[in-house]
């Protein structure tokens, strides 16, 4: 009996030591995305994208002398700032994450930044928050995004519409930071280019009936209806109602509206409609799609490549600083993302980590041709899509 006790005590001690050892070399990264809520159909691929980069680095054992990277997921809900903040607070204080990959929607991203990330001094890289307001938000140098600001998307939308000879549009947006930001940016760009926005009206998500909104839009008229909403929410409701009443038959869908759901919900009814969402034809994008296929998720999903890149940038910056402390590595994010240095594509994270360790410069290109400008946001590449035969496909890169 005595021996048995001794043995168990010894095992406990040893395993305790082993745990402590592993703990020292564990980097935890919080993945905060709207796993429930209006973006729930695209967030699984985004989360998988970020975790793909983390697994790649863990397996290489090259980060900070063999640190393991673990992902801890939190739900931003996309719309509920309170829930998102407490999810972030939990990850930071009780799970002790060293960085946050997220959040997804602009409103909750701003809330997490101001209420959880800044007070605790944790770096945050969002793959998909696109509100122009975040460019000027106070961030203590902690906030970056691999998605472009919607000020850029407004210009792209204007170019696409005018290339197709459209000069008069009606505009509806989801009533939140993302929708309002994009709608304002687009309206400014479109009117500056000589176009007319006949009406700009908001819609609330989660309603069953949008006939009043569509009635107002139809009355104002326009060749195309621009729907700056969410595909899982009011955006689809607006399109449904507009099609049913014959108010519009051509739609422009920006990033939040592009998803498989559109094909499912509308099929051939959307033929002739078009839109654009972030993406590039760089070799990194193709590489990422292949890797994603191997990992069992869809690498072409909106913001999945950006998520991979956001996670990768966090880890490369840590390596460059030789520390997993946000205060140390936050100044290295821009360096690893931009030239000069050797170009790094998806699947080459181990190589990049080695290069950095040897004191060489890297220029992270990644899956979305990352180029961080201004206050740490992507310069922005978009892919133009068009609906034909009931499905959308990419026709051009901008």
């Amino acid at each position: 009996m005595k021996k048995f006790l001794m043995a168990t005590a010894a095992t406990a001690l040893m395993s305790g030591a082993a745990f402590a050892d592993a703990h020292a070399k564990e980097v935890k990264i919080g993945v905060i995305l709207g796993f429930t809520g209006p973006l729930e159909s695209i967030t699984p691929a985004m989360g998988a994208g970020a975790e793909l980069a983390m697994n790649e680095v863990s397996e290489s054992g090259a980060l900070l002398d063999g640190a393991k990277v673990t992902s801890i997921r939190g739900d931003s809900t996309c719309i509920d700032a309170g829930a998102a903040t407490s999810a972030a607070e939990r990850l930071i204080t009780s799970d002790q994450v060293s960085a946050i990959m997220g959040a997804d929607c602009s409103g909750v991203t701003g809330a997490i930044l101001q209420n959880a990330a800044r007070p605790n001094g944790v770096v945050m890289i969002s793959p998909s928050a696109t509100s122009p307001g975040l460019s000027t938000a106070e961030d203590d140098g902690l906030f970056f995004r691999t998605a472009p600001s919607d000020a850029r998307q407004g210009v792209i939308m204007t170019e696409i519409l005018q290339d197709r000879g459209v000069n008069e549009v009606a505009l509806t947006y989801t009533n939140n930071d993302y929708g309002k930001g994009l709608a304002d940016a687009f309206q400014a760009a479109f009117e500056e280019a000589g176009g007319t926005v006949t009406i700009s009206t908001s819609h609330e998500d989660g309603k069953a009936d949008y006939s009043a909104e569509v009635g107002a839009l139809a009355s104002a008229g326009g060749e195309v209806l621009v729907v700056a909403g969410y595909v899982d929410q009011g955006g689809s409701g607006i399109i449904r109602s507009a099609l049913d009443t014959g108010a519009f038959d051509t739609f422009y869908v920006p990033d939040g509206m592009v998803g498989e759901k559109l094909n499912e919900n509308f099929g051939a009814e959307m033929n002739g409609s078009f839109g654009a969402y972030p993406g590039t034809d760089s070799e990194g994008a193709a590489l990422f799609v292949e890797m994603a296929k191997g990992a069992g998720f869809d690498g072409t999903g909106a913001f999945a490549p950006e998520s991979y890149d956001a996670a990768a940038l966090i880890m490369l910056a840590m390596q460059a600083a030789g520390s997993m402390d946000s205060a140390d590595y936050k100044d290295h994010v821009m360096n690893v993302a931009n030239a000069p240095g050797e170009k790094i594509y998806p699947g080459e994270l181990a190589k990049a980590l080695e290069l950095i360790k040897n004191g060489e410069e890297v220029d992270y290109e990644g899956a979305s041709a990352v180029e961080l400008i201004g206050p740490g946001e992507s310069a922005g590449n978009y892919q133009e899509i068009e609906f034909a035969d009931g499905v959308y496909s990419t026709i051009k890169y901008r």
Partner: protein, 336 residues
Amino acid sequence: MDLLNAFVTLSNFVLIPAIAYGSQLALGALGVTLIYGILRFSNFAHGDTMAFGTMVTILFTWLFQSWGLSLGPVPTALLALPFGILGCMALLLFTDRVVYKFYREQKAKPVILVIVSLGVMFIMNGLVRFIIGPDDQRFSDGERFIVSVRTFREMTGLEEGLAIKTTQGITVITAVIVVAALFWFLNRTRTGKSMRAYSDNEDLALLSGINPERVVMITWLIVAALATVAGVLYGLDKSFKPFTYFQLLLPIFASAIVGGLGSPLGAIAGGFTIAFSEVMVTYAWKKVAGYALPESLAPDGLAQLLSTDYKFAVSFVILLIVLLFRPTGLFAGKSV
């Protein structure tokens, strides 16, 4: 001037949607008003009762669809509707037996019953989400349109199109049938008359030998039928999501109160008043005015009174005005 096009536009975006929405609200408000008139409390669980009945109907619709049963151009849900009503009846009788009966025997004040119904609401809310989930469910099938925009344009050669969805047609027809049946029942049958007597004066009704438990039971059965029909029509026409049914409670109560709580005729008038004002006040009249007025008078702006964001506010402003000037509602129901 082109009055025909003006009328077609108006019908397409205002009249038809408002008539369909009004019918759905009226059916919902009838249920609320019956409970208020006979059981003497405001039933906050009504929206979720509708959701429950609709959920049972949807489950049966899916069952029938999997068997390959269909009604051709008419949605299969109509075939499943009687089963939904039965399911809803069972639920309401059950809640009455285990919850409301207790308070009735205590002669509890109406305000206590209101709070009790709030509790019942949350339980039903959870029950529906537990069984079918919080997401959108589409269950309409069959022909989508009676008249689609394209065929209307081809038929008439007009510039403007007009769409009448099958579900809108069914909504109006069903509402007319249900309301006619209800009024016939209340005014012509013995049981209906005993219900009205009980509503007018409980004590006198008891003295004349009316069995109160029977009246209560029949009221719940009728309410279950009304709620399920209203819920299914709304779900067919729009989409089914438990949360939107919970939200429907507000316009339904507004309808019932505007019309006069306890007055079935008022519930119908209230439903249409609320539906029409919600749609018309927030409608941009530019296009209609452009057709109807001579060119010199046509507006440049959108001619929109209020942005569509204020849709819900409209029903409450009307509610306030009615309560201020006619506290018993348009059709002189009971004061709240």
